[in-house]
């Protein structure tokens, strides 16, 4: 069995002639990796192809598509990134006809690093590596098990660390608005650090991630204050799944539930008064 890197390189080589470029990771100067657009003109660059650390490749795709909306590209995506792309498609941010998905299956240690429940792709026609099962998320479980005052104290402390770099928003593949509500004084107070509690920034962002977060954990990764914000998104994602039977990125045509009318049984599961 050949390793994933070799197989991926071969897959990209096969795809390259048919597309304008393939987005994947490349080892740059000083061993620093970054998303890169591999092209057939410079296929020798594939020597520098990398797999890890996971980088926000869909974010780079977003930037390229803004300038080249009709570009025919391929992208190497892990399970979470594939879900991100599906959600971008569902929000009319890209055209899947022009995009070849090369699915990269995560390995055990990678999945454990991300505490990922779905470290595999489902839509990609081309795949590299063997899909593995999801792993548990001990951090989320630990925080959820806290009592209400403990949670309050925990999050107060975490949010006090926030330096409001907006990095979690910038790096999120699902944050594609031109103007962001988080920059609007109506919702997020300006000029105060540590930000007042409860944090409007984090609460509003968590609400905006409802039925959108694909659990890629890029936000946590980039956070200079190490705030485990994806815990919120994951807990809410679980509730949305249980109440409305919806999972972001799982299906190409299912619409986010909060936009639609109530279906049979949904009201009963929502916990609202009868």
């Amino acid at each position: 069995m050949t390793d994933r890197l070799t197989t991926l390189r071969k897959t990209i080589e096969n795809v390259l002639p048919n597309v304008e470029g393939v987005l994947a990771l490349r080892i740059g100067p000083g061993g620093i990796t970054a998303p890169h657009l591999f092209s057939k003109e410079h296929s020798e660059e594939l020597d520098k192809l990398a797999l890890w650390p996971k980088e926000p490749v869909p974010d780079t795709l977003k930037i390229i598509l803004r300038a080249h909306p009709d570009a025919k590209l391929a992208i190497v995506c892990r399970g979470c990134e594939e879900r991100g792309i599906v959600e971008m498609f569902k929000h009319s941010q890209l055209n899947l006809d022009n995009l070849t998905l090369i699915g990269l299956q995560c390995e055990q240690d990678e999945a454990e690093f991300c505490r990922c429940a779905k470290p595999f792709t489902v839509h990609s026609k081309l795949t590299v590596g063997e899909p593995i099962e999801g792993v548990p998320d001990p951090l989320t479980a630990k925080i959820e098990a806290m009592s209400q005052p403990e949670k309050q104290a925990f999050w107060k402390q975490e949010f006090e660390h926030c330096i409001k770099c907006y990095g979690c928003r910038n790096i999120c593949p699902q944050c594609f608005c031109n103007i962001c509500a988080l920059e609007d004084e109506t919702w997020v107070e300006t000029g105060r650090l540590p930000m007042p509690n409860p944090s409007m920034y984090h609460m509003v962002r968590a609400m905006h991630m409802t039925a959108k977060c694909v659990a890629c954990r890029e936000c946590e990764e980039t956070c200079p204050a190490d705030i485990p914000m994806a815990v919120h998104f994951r807990l809410i994602a679980r509730d949305v799944r249980e109440m409305f039977n919806y999972e972001p990125g799982a299906s190409m045509d299912q619409k986010p539930p909060q936009l639609l009318v109530l279906e049979e049984g949904e009201y009963e599961r929502s916990g609202l008064p009868h």
């Binding site: 009319s92 594609f176 608005c177 609007d184 004084e185 986010p256």
Partner: protein, 668 residues
């Protein structure tokens, strides 16, 4: 980054005493003095209290201040805005302030009448006034939009309801497109023999109306046609209609009937004759059909299926048969739409213990209607399935599929009277015994109960009880039921059973509702705007419902609704143009990211997606101003006029500020 600067406005605040209704509990003088002082920095330049703000003197007070003090915003604290908001908006308007720059806060129904403690009530009034002042400075002038009304009308469904609506409108001089999916108009009523309680002949009263509709210069009849797509909004609908190929050139056909006489192919007619009779492959459903042109039934025509025959073409004296005719797609522009799509009959096969479909001599109500019709398959003779034997005893079972939690919970409303009519017809035609099995007898209608009394006197056996089962036995059928009045099980042998099947919504009602942008109830009946006060309008302006598509009803009620819907439409046409809600939603094209979330969330399909721009767009004429899209839009690109985020937030902060200040003084 959006940075918000507070607008500088000159606000007038008016506190109403409402006699002692408010002043008896709230210290109104205190509130107005307080507002003049404490809310000065919020822009309040005048604060007054007055005995009755809604009186002409009260209104003049506002108008005078607007003119003399140069007020740009007005706040009235009085009763519910549902009572007097229009009054004060008009007063502002008269004095030159846009009515949307007025805000009303409710210190009567929601303060003085519900609060016991006078001090608390006064404090609440202050925070409500502060909230209103906070909001009013952010309010923007709005102008109502007027759209012209296209006077043409679309009526969908050519039953008696649709015919009535179409005739009313056409007689007033407006043009109607009447769309019917069957080959002829007439609907269910054309299938009936007699109508209750007068027992007049159904055809005799319907045919003249059908004829009038068919020959009316203002009615374009589109039978054998279906609506495919509806776009636009009140006054400006564009409707796409598929006119299915009849394979008959209408301009040449005289309706002579030679084609169906010569057609060799006999087909069971399970639409008009309810499966009891036959028709040909080229046919009109019944002799009085309007229009008179037949259709060729593609599925059963020998030529279409096997490639030879063409007998009709050979004998047609005018050469009207056109085998190569294609479906036609028509696009019509109309200003209003009336849906009169009627009902389907409950399928009695769904109740296996009644044996319909298995036991030959169990008939449905519609089958019996055809049987008693003089023009029907048995020439009006009441006979068993063998076509010859006259039944000596007949059972009529009420509430088949209705008032039954396994099928439909609702009462189908017409079955009691229909069943009594059947009893009379059986008695009249056979003289046999009739047993009526009913749950409750419901005869609320003019002369309906008199009819019931008359039937009882004809010697019909009434048994109060739901039939458990119908089985074969004793040379016929046995009806098993509990007679709840005597508390005994009854087994009644009969020759024939008639199931008075309930009415249900059309199988495609949901699809149709979606097409026209209206909603369905849990049972798929179309939902009216208000069950009592607006029974024929829908939540979509310009789309009306009439007749049984809105819920089970008898002929008089259907006809009344048809006429009512026509009157509503004519009143709109008479206005020439229609005012549209001013407080609609609006998309900021610069910030819209084109994610289409709002499009999916709008209850009215009022948001369009402009593909070429990649932006959402609110069709103002369709928008009702609910603001659901605003709650959905993540970059806050959609604003609901008059209920903007900054207005609501300012109102909330206005109330909170005062509540917090009281808290502080109390602690001190």
């Amino acid at each position: 980054m959006k940075s918000k600067k507070k607008p500088q406005e000159r606000v007038g605040v008016y506190i109403c005493h409402c006699g002692s209704n408010i002043a008896g509990v709230v210290n109104v003088e205190d509130v107005s003095t307080w507002a003049g002082k404490e809310l000065e920095k919020e822009g309040v330049v005048v604060a007054r209290d007055y005995k009755f703000m809604c009186s002409s003197l009260g209104q003049e007070l506002i108008e005078k201040d607007i003119k003399e003090q140069g007020l740009t915003r007005v706040v009235v604290a009085a009763c519910s805005p549902h009572l007097h908001e229009p009054t004060f908006r008009n007063a502002c308007s008269r004095a030159g302030v846009n009515p949307y720059l007025f805000e009303m806060t409710n210190i009567r129904e929601q303060d003085s009448w519900v609060t016991t403690d006078k001090l608390e009530a006064t404090k609440k009034a202050k925070s409500l006034v502060s909230a209103a002042v906070g909001r009013v400075v952010y309010q923007k002038p709005l102008e109502s939009l007027f759209v012209p009304i296209d006077p043409n009308v679309l009526v969908v469904g050519g039953g008696v309801t649709g015919i009535q609506a179409a005739l009313e409108i056409a007689n007033s001089g407006q043009h109607v497109y009447l769309v019917e999916r069957e080959p002829s108009i007439g609907g269910h009523m054309a299938q009936f023999d007699k109508t209750f309680p007068t027992l007049d002949c159904s055809a005799c009263i319907l045919t003249p109306k059908m004829f009038d509709a068919g020959n009316h210069k203002n009615i374009t009849m589109l039978t054998w046609s279906e609506v495919e797509k509806v776009e636009g909004y009140i006054g400006n609908f564009t409707v796409t209609i598929r006119k299915r190929a009849r394979f008959i050139e209408e301009s040449l056909c005289t309706g002579c009937g030679v084609c169906w006489e010569k057609c060799p192919k006999k087909v069971v007619d399970d639409v008009f004759e309810a499966g009891l009779g036959y028709r040909k492959a080229v046919y009109t459903p019944f002799p009085q059909a309007v229009p008179k042109y037949p259709v060729i039934d593609h599925e059963n025509c020998t030529y279409f299926q096997k490639g030879t025959c063409k007998a009709c073409e050979k004998f047609c004296p005018t050469g009207a048969i056109k085998f190569d005719q294609q479906d036609e797609i028509l696009t019509v522009k109309v200003g209003n739409i009336i849906l009169a799509t009627g009902y389907d009959l409950f399928d009695a096969r769904k109740i296996p213990n009644y044996g319909y479909g298995r036991l030959p001599n169990v008939f449905t109500s519609l089958e019996f209607e055809r049987m008693t019709n003089a023009a029907g398959p048995t020439m009006g003779k009441v006979v068993l399935r063998d076509g010859v034997t006259q039944p000596k005893s007949v059972a009529v079972i009420h509430c088949v599929g209705s008032r039954d939690k396994n099928y439909h919970n609702y009462c189908s409303s017409i079955c009691c009277m229909q069943s009594l009519k059947f009893a009379h017809l059986v008695k009249e035609k056979t003289g046999g015994d009739v047993y009526q099995f009913y749950i409750d007898m419901r005869t609320p209608g003019k002369s309906y109960d008199e009819f019931y009394q008359k039937i009882i006197h004809e010697g019909v056996n009434m048994i109060r009880g739901k039939v458990a089962e119908i089985i074969e036995g004793e040379g016929g059928l046995i009806v098993q039921a509990e007679d709840t009045l005597v508390g005994k099980q009854r087994r009644i042998p009969v020759d024939m059973v008639i199931l008075s099947a309930g009415l249900e919504s059309r199988a495609d009602a949901k699809e149709v509702a979606q097409k026209f942008g209206i909603s369905c109830s849990a049972d798929d009946w179309f939902i009216e705007r208000h069950p009592k006060l607006d029974p024929v309008a829908t939540m979509t302006d310009g789309v009306f419902v009439a007749g049984a598509c809105q819920g089970p009803k008898d002929i008089p009620a259907s006809v009344a609704q048809g006429a009512a819907a026509a009157a509503r439409v004519l009143s709109i046409i008479g206005q020439g143009e229609i005012e549209i809600e001013a407080a609609t939603a609006m998309v900021d094209e610069i910030t819209c990211v084109g994610c289409k979330q709002c499009v999916a969330s709008c209850p009215y399909q009022a948001i369009q997606f402009l593909e070429e721009k990649g932006k959402a767009y609110v069709q103002e004429a369709l928008c009702k101003g609910c603001g659901t899209c605003v709650g959905t839009c993540l970059p806050k690109s959609i604003t609901l006029k008059h209920f903007t985020d900054e207005q609501i937030v300012a109102e909330m902060i206005g109330a909170m500020r005062v509540m917090k200040s009281f808290e502080m003084t109390e602690v001190a």
